[in-house]
């Protein structure tokens, strides 16, 4: 766990953030299909129910590894329900159940031999409302490591520094690691939650509207961060903000009434959508 993180941290970003440079280059054939080897999460005919209400209808998606995939769509379209199905966060809701398959690296998330605790360690999550524990900054980031059984102080210190650095928070908090996390600003709290998720070295990072409660400056920091992180993590992000989806993501899925209307390379969705409904939504005609 530690060694892989070490290499992750030291590795340089191959190119400057695209959305910062202002250019948007994409290979025209990239969006059409994904090579089998690139697929990290594969969803097939996934339905989801709250009690008797069916909220997801036959979702089928292939999410590529080490790319940012955005889920957009109007409120109540099932984006959040879907993203929370990937790490089985919906399990804690009574009467909620999923049907169909979600495979991560070919392994069925809802399979009988899948341990949900291990699954969630591999699939980190950042929530809409930042939710730091009422503990110190240090203890927040250490939480996932400690439940994994790590006790070595030096090892913990190391990973905590690296995780906070990756989340672009280290310089702001390094002198007050043992102060309460609740004293941080909203944007800092959200980056702390990202650091906390990164500390356990997940393969996938799910972000459920991570910037919707933040001001523009904090938002742009989170977006830069997402861009940096995709070299090492597969990121799925739910967003209400279409500009944000356009800025940070490689592929975009447009959800509507519990169905995926269109899923393609982000440029295609925003510049040249196949479906009329997608075009109406991304151009702001409804939603």
């Amino acid at each position: 766990m530690t060694s892989s993180l070490t290499t992750d941290v030291t590795r340089e970003s191959p190119s400057p953030p695209r959305f910062l440079a202002g250019e948007k280059v994409a290979k025209p054939d990239e969006g059409a299909t994904l090579a089998q080897s690139e697929i990290k999460i594969s969803v097939r005919d996934f339905d989801f129910f709250y009690g008797t209400a069916k909220v997801l209808h036959g979702i089928s998606l292939e999410i590529p590894a080490r790319k940012v995939t955005a889920l957009i769509g109007p409120s109540g379209c099932g984006k959040s329900t879907f993203i929370r199905s990937i790490n089985r966060m919906n399990d804690i809701i009574t009467d909620a159940r999923g049907k169909g398959t979600i495979l991560i690296d070919g392994q069925d998330v809802y399979g009988s031999n899948t341990d949900v605790v291990e699954l969630r360690r591999r699939v980190g999550m950042v929530f809409q409302k930042s939710n730091p524990f009422p503990k110190s900054i240090y203890d927040n980031v250490a939480y996932g490591l400690r439940i994994g059984g790590m006790r070595n102080k030096r090892q913990l210190d190391d990973i905590i520094e690296r995780s906070l650095t990756r989340a672009a928070l280290w310089h702001e908090v390094k002198d007050r690691l043992h102060a309460s996390a609740l004293a941080l600003s909203g944007g800092q709290q959200q980056r702390l939650c990202i650091a906390r998720a990164l500390a356990v070295d997940p393969e996938i990072l799910l972000m459920d509207e991570p910037a919707s409660a933040l001001d523009p400056i904090a938002t742009s920091k989170i977006e830069e961060l997402i861009y940096e992180l995709k070299d090492n993590y597969t990121i799925v992000i739910v967003t209400h903000n279409m500009q944000q989806a356009a800025r940070v993501s490689d592929r975009t899925a447009f959800f509507m009434l519990g169905r995926v209307v269109e899923y393609a390379e982000t440029n295609t969705i925003f510049m040249n959508p196949k479906e009329k409904m997608t075009e109406d939504y991304v151009t702001g005609r409804f939603g």
Binding site: M89, R121, F127, F133, P134, Y143, I147, C193, R196
Partner: protein, 283 residues
């Protein structure tokens, strides 16, 4: 229009006045109790009261040292019994709120809360005194504990429910098991409130007399044995207050004063603990 507005203002003023009156009516007895207890009790308090044993009938002077120690022991037993049971029960109720079992437990806690304390005393008498044919500190402590349990259960449950759901999700999303999430994140977040609940419950049972009458009974001698009858402030106050001796009446007032002060101190302590913990949680 203006007539209507005037009428509404009159009604509003009327109800505000009624509310204020109700507050005063509620506060008068409290103020009077405090006034009398302080007036009669403070003067009767002296060093002997804390350090001396009761004198035999007919001799004046002496104190309630045994009863002070006894009350302390009794509430310790009660807390040792009720805090773990009550807290775990409250955790269960907040974690599994919808199950049939939970609603039964919740209803039972409410019923237990309403059971007259003398009945709880009879129950403890039946299961802990009758079989061994001896009054004991244990029996008294358990009776007090039984009275504490429902209060601790319900405050624990309610305070755990106030913890934002996001914290639980955050912990689970990091790979915490359900139990781990509860004990490492949710319970600590609610701890200040739970502690207050426990202290309030302690304050409540520390003032109980009825359940001790036939469980802990009373003891005119120094005893710290858990299996022997033990003195308590409340029972001692009761015994002295119904006696025909002026000196005992004086001591009863002193005992009452001490009880009130103890309960006040517990309440203040509860407040301070909350403030301290909240500050720790915040900054």
């Amino acid at each position: 229009m203006t007539a209507n507005l005037r009428r509404r203002k009159v009604y509003s003023g009327l109800f505000e006045a009624l509310c204020a009156l109700a507050v005063i009516v509620a506060l008068i007895p409290l103020a009077m109790i405090l006034f009398y207890v302080v007036k009669e009790g403070f003067g009767a308090l002296n060093v002997d009261f804390f350090t001396h044993m009761p004198k035999p009938v007919g001799e004046s002077g002496g104190g309630m040292a045994n009863a002070i120690a006894g009350t302390f022991i009794l509430i310790c037993i009660a807390a040792a019994f009720a805090v773990p049971v009550g807290c775990l029960c409250g955790i269960h109720l907040s974690e599994y709120p919808g199950t049939k079992f939970s609603s039964i437990v919740r209803f039972s806690a409410d019923v237990l809360n309403g059971v007259p304390s003398i009945v709880v005393g009879i129950f403890a008498y039946g299961i802990l005194v009758l079989p061994v044919k001896r009054f004991s500190a244990i029996a008294g402590g358990v009776a007090l504990g039984l009275l504490m349990i429902p209060i601790v259960v319900r405050t624990t449950e309610e305070l755990l429910r106030l913890v934002p759901g996001g914290l639980r999700e955050g912990a689970l999303a990091l790979g915490a098991t359900r139990g781990r999430a509860v004990f490492s994140v949710i319970v600590p977040a609610a701890l200040p409130g739970i502690l207050t609940g426990i202290l309030v419950a302690l304050a409540r049972v520390a003032g109980e007399t009825a359940p001790l009458l036939f469980t802990a009974f009373n003891n005119r001698f120094w005893s710290t044995s858990l299996t022997q009858p033990i003195a308590s402030l409340t029972v001692q106050v009761f015994t002295y207050a119904i006696s025909p001796y002026d000196d005992w009446h004086r001591q009863a007032w002193a005992g009452a004063f001490l009880l009130v002060m103890m309960i006040l101190a517990l309440s203040i302590l509860a407040r301070l603990a909350v403030r301290r913990l909240e500050r720790m949680n915040r900054s």
